[in-house]
């Protein structure tokens, strides 16, 4: 395999893996902050127990997010040095700002939150988790602005003297329409996932306790009931918003990357109105579709907002690209760089269709599945109802977080694979962005070792996570600020 193919796989593996931890970090930090806020305001002990319980699960997850995130920042330079050189003037800024503004905030305040229970007054300590949660959100703003620039490279021009893209306006980069709609979509998907996680764990415990037999069980059940409903509501509200934002995103995508929308459906011929196939049996290369389940007009609606809108097919889009490429683009950089692009050459304008087609459906399907579970959970727990423990309930409680978690992965796989063959859409082909000096041996070796290390860590992390999730709510004592230098800390590592 070539260094380029290996570098692509390495990016895929390390990035998908990293993003298992990101949505939970972003959303659970804030949801734990909400729980702690309710406790601080009401003094309700069950909220303190929930804060500690989900806080611990949050930290197990957070540690992995931190260490796998470092790889992300380094690998642009390691595997994609020509990309880094070509776009660094624009792409580097949000990355640096993310570290300076967001990572410091997250890291310093999460440390204060973990170790500060008995050193900071209650309200100051509460502010620590809020600041850390805000840090994770600022981080999302910058990294999504960076990614959205790769989809729609606005705010930049081409400088032939330096042979690279250079910034014309940071405001344009940060207010890229793709970024403005991607941010809420990614955030709501994160809350959908974390809501599912809270629902899944609390709901599982609630069913396990069943009818409380002791005072302690009564106490536990009341906390789990609160969390089950809280998680389900977060899941449903976030899920609904992710549908809305995803819909807007689809329309913007159709404007700036029509090929990606065609690839989402594997739509070969332009159609008006265009149907959306829920499932297709057979190949997607336009040659031998055996059977597909189609809903008329829905693809038109997803792409244009009208049920009889015109959706361009792959054949027409390829024809257009082969004749004019991006010479008539509204995006300054794409237009200016088109001569260079013609020299570099594009081998195949069409993304990998089986990947785009199925990842698009899995993203949506898994999200909807979780929302159905959320509704079901609310229905079952209404008016003090207790879910019946059993295989079905357990399966649903696992699916509530895992569905959206993998849905997130498929969403990203769709968005990144749908951008191919470009690393920066219409500007720089992925094949020409790899590090020229790096050998297949180096990329291959590091990829194998990353996979081994990540695999081993996954076993440990999942084991610990399950251990503490099953252990359930901890007993708590009200945290007090300790002033005696020799007294044991109420909490230490």
């Amino acid at each position: 395999m070539s260094a380029e193919t290996l570098a692509r796989w390495q990016f895929g593996i390390t990035t998908v893996y990293h993003f298992f931890f990101v949505p939970i970090t972003i959303a659970l930090s804030l949801l734990v902050a909400v729980m702690q806020t309710i406790w601080v305001r009401s003094g309700d002990e069950k909220l303190l127990r929930l804060t500690k319980f989900f806080g611990k699960l949050f930290l197990i997850n957070f540690a992995m997010g931190v260490v796998t995130g470092i790889v992300q920042e380094f690998q642009f330079g390691m595997n994609w040095s020509e990309y880094s050189r070509f776009v660094g003037d624009i792409f580097g800024a949000p990355l640096a700002l993310e570290a300076l503004i967001a990572f410091f905030l997250e890291s310093v305040f999460i440390g204060l939150w973990i170790f500060g229970w008995d050193r900071l007054p209650k309200k100051v300590h509460l502010a620590m988790i809020w600041l850390a949660a805000i840090g994770t959100m600022i981080s999302a703003i910058f990294i999504l602005a960076a990614n959205s620039w790769m989809q729609n490279p606005v705010g930049a021009h081409f400088n032939p003297a330096t042979d690279r893209a250079e910034m014309t306006s940071l405001i344009d980069v940060l207010t890229n329409p793709v970024a403005l709609v991607t941010l809420p979509h990614v955030l709501t998907a994160a809350y959908l996932t974390a809501g599912g996680l809270i629902l899944g764990i609390a709901g599982w415990h609630l069913a396990k306790i069943g009818k409380p037999g002791s005072e302690k069980q009564e106490k536990d059940a009341s906390a789990y009931r609160w969390a089950t409903k809280f998680g389900a509501w977060v899941l449903l509200v976030a899920g609904a918003l992710s549908v809305v934002t995803g819909d807007i995103q689809g329309k913007i995508m159709t404007e700036v990357q029509p090929m990606k929308m065609a690839a989402a459906e594997a739509l070969w011929e332009t159609e008006q109105p265009a149907a959306f196939s829920i499932i297709t049996i057979g190949t997607l290369d336009g040659s031998q579709e055996v059977w597909s389940l189609k809903v008329p007009g829905v693809l038109s609606f997803l792409a244009t907002g009208s049920f009889d809108g015109k959706v361009y097919g792959i054949n027409d889009l390829v024809k257009k690209m082969e004749s004019e490429a991006f010479t008539n683009s509204n995006v300054q950089l794409q237009k200016e760089v088109s001569d260079r692009l013609a020299k570099v050459g594009v081998e195949n304008w069409v993304p990998n269709l089986p990947v785009t087609y199925w990842s698009f459906r899995l993203m949506m399907g898994l999200g909807f599945l979780a929302m159905a579970i959320g509704l079901w959970a609310l229905w079952v727990t209404r008016k003090g109802g207790v879910p019946k423990a059993g295989k079905l309930w357990t399966a649903m409680m696992f699916a509530a977080p895992l569905g959206p978690l993998f849905g997130n992965s498929f969403g990203w796989i769709f968005t990144e694979m749908g951008r191919q063959p470009f690393i920066v859409f219409g500007v720089l082909p992925t094949a020409s962005a790899v590090s020229p000096g790096v050998s297949a041996f180096e990329v291959g070796l590091s990829m194998v070792l990353y996979t081994v290390i990540y695999g081993a860590l996954a076993v440990i992390e999942v084991g610990l996570f399950m251990h503490y999730a099953k252990l359930g709510l901890p007993d708590v004592v009200e945290p007090q600020v300790i002033t005696d230098e020799d007294a044991p800390l109420t909490f230490a590592y």
């Binding site: 957070f62 580097g92 800024a93 410091f104 440390g111 250079e166 909490f491």
Partner: protein, 363 residues
């Protein structure tokens, strides 16, 4: 908001100088802060004889190590934003060494968190070793790296894209391990062990404090010996004039002062002394890296073909980044200082509760 038009380029060398200095400052922040947590973590399996002693050690760095590491990430991000070609050439050129750094950072980063939570003591021992080995690996590689920046990494333009610089020969790996490169690695490890044991002494009380002091007295001599050879060799191999020798004397004075005050039981002044040493050594190294950024001409020419001017971002990006840095660096410094003051208390084994990692009370 501020600047919507592209200002005329080629205006000044000024912002390149400023960003080179800022990147040096970020590295110094990283080396000073994470330096001590590497030192402490390396020592966990060796100085911590009992479970509680190990936990005292971890708790001295637990609240702050993650923030310390962000200095490195910000240095990396700032290099990407301000000098994209430097970032591109360096990170791809030193592929395997950076991979080792990442492995080190990964295995140590998870170990603190998981050690505190894993119910099985065999796993806790494993995590202690992961923390220790990871914390050894990173400064070892960075030490070798900085020594090679002093010598200059040989670059040439890539045949396919003349604006991209690559190391030559490529891959450039075994060449890194000259005697001077290896000396750099060992020196940085020794320096961090010294710095870390002084931090441990400063932050602990009782038996573990005395052990840290005794260890510092020993490793301090090693650090002084290696540091002296390294700094003299640096000034001979890559002279930076009188300033280089002044920095050498200051760095050496810092080490001597750290050793002396450690012997007198003055933990605070001893720790400040190694901090000063790290500062002076880093300033000396970054001086040798201007304006060639730690590269040299692979063809043997006098000047590096890749330098702070042709590696840098456009004027607009540098101006914007400067504005953000002016606002946020002071803010970061302020809340970081506050975080350190919150955890200023010395810890002893009597402060460590019994029940971790049992279910109760954990955050």
């Amino acid at each position: 908001m501020f600047i919507l038009e592209v200002p005329p380029t080629g205006a000044a060398f000024g912002l390149q100088v400023l960003w080179f200095i800022l990147i040096a400052v970020l590295w110094i922040g990283y080396l000073v802060l994470e330096g001590f947590d590497y030192g402490v973590a390396m020592l966990i399996p060796f100085l911590g004889k009992t479970e509680k002693e190990k936990r005292v050690m971890i708790n001295t760095i637990g609240p702050v190590w993650d923030g310390n590491e962000v200095w490195l990430l910000t240095a990396g991000g700032a290099t990407f934003a301000a000098f994209p070609a430097w970032y591109a050439t360096l990170f791809s050129g030193l592929y395997l060494p950076l991979f080792l750094v990442l492995v080190g950072l990964i295995i140590r980063g998870v170990s603190f968190e998981y050690r505190a939570k894993h119910p099985d003591s065999r796993y806790r021992t494993l995590f202690d070793w992961m923390a220790s080995i990871g914390s050894f690996l990173v400064p070892l590689v960075f030490g070798v790296g900085f020594a090679n920046f002093i010598l200059g990494l040989p670059v040439t333009t890539d045949a396919a894209s003349p604006n991209l610089f690559v190391l030559s020969p490529s891959p450039y790996f075994w060449q890194l391990f000259s005697w001077f490169g290896l000396l750099g690695g060992l020196t940085l490890v020794a320096l961090f062990l010294f710095h870390g044991s002084l931090f441990l002494a400063l932050k602990t009380k009782g038996e573990i404090h005395d052990k840290a002091q005794a260890f510092a007295a020993k490793v301090g001599l090693v650090a002084i010996g290696l540091g002296a050879i390294f700094l003299i060799a640096q000034n001979l191999l890559h002279p930076t004039g009188a300033l280089g020798w002044v920095l050498l004397v200051l760095a050496a004075a810092g080490l001597a002062s750290a050793w002396w005050f450690n012997g007198k039981g003055r933990d605070g002044i001893a720790f400040i002394s190694t901090t000063a040493t790290i500062l002076f050594v880093a300033v000396g190294i970054f001086l040798t890296m201007w304006p060639g950024l730690g590269f040299r001409d692979a063809a043997g020419g006098a000047d590096s073909p890749l330098n702070a001017m042709n590696a840098s971002s456009s004027q607009l990006t540098l101006v914007l980044m400067t504005i953000f840095a002016c606002i946020f660096v002071p803010i970061v410094l302020a809340y970081t200082a506050w975080a350190y003051s919150v955890f200023r208390r010395r810890l002893g084994t009597e402060n460590i509760p019994d029940d971790e990692p049992a279910p109760a009370l954990a955050g």
